[in-house]
Amino acid sequence: MNFLDALQISGSGMSSQSARMNVIATNLANAEATRTPEGGPYKRKEVIFGSVPFKEVLEGQNKSLISESKVMGVIEDTRAPQMKYDPGHPDADAQGYVALPNVNVIQEMVNMMLASRSYEANVTAVQTTKDMAMRALEIGK
């Protein structure tokens, strides 16, 4: 059914946004991590969203135009780490500088607001879809 497809698509958007939220949480939690299993400071991560054709489209509709959201992958931010002068730090280099993660907390907060608002938008889309279906059922009453 058409309405159910719309719900599915909104759900995919919500899944993408929660995946983005996971990455933002990782960035914030590791904003001051100077040691990682790969060595060096933590590197900021970012999600890449993709649009994939929706499989259960009804015949007669243009299949390529209806698509759901999907997280295509998580990439590492390649920007250089922030250098902070702190000679007492155990991870400081010979000049006394410590390489801190390239995470900007303010930027992460803005991304978090974006993720939250996008999620809300998808929830609203679900509610509207449901309202429309319920309105259609009221015709018979």
Partner: protein
């Protein structure tokens, strides 16, 4: 019971209407259509059940996917109830008919 009412209500004039359009369709009975949609709704409800179980067991961490599965089952169920009301209404209308 709905099946039996439905099959007796099967529209006989439908094939001739389609023949005018140059289509020869096998008139799938209303009862058949109804049981197909009931199976579909049953499937949606089972999906919702599975996703609630997974959420409770901690396997599926996506709350919204469970909510959406529940909403789908809810909408389909409400549509089914409307169809049932209409069918029962038609049956009662026939039963009230003066002989």
């Amino acid at each position: 019971m709905i099946d039996r009412i439905a099959s007796s209500l099967e529209i006989k004039s439908l094939p001739s209407l389609n023949a005018q359009e140059g289509k020869v369709s096998e008139a799938a009975g209303f009862g058949e259509m109804l049981s197909k949609s009931i199976r579909e709704i049953d499937m949606l409800q089972k999906d919702a059940d599975i996703s609630i179980e997974n959420l409770a067991a901690g396997e599926n961490t996506d709350i919204h996917q469970t909510m959406i599965a529940m909403e789908k089952a809810d909408i389909a169920m409400k549509l089914m109830i409307q169809i049932r009301n209409k069918v029962v209404g038609a049956y009662e209308e026939i039963m009230r008919m003066q002989v």
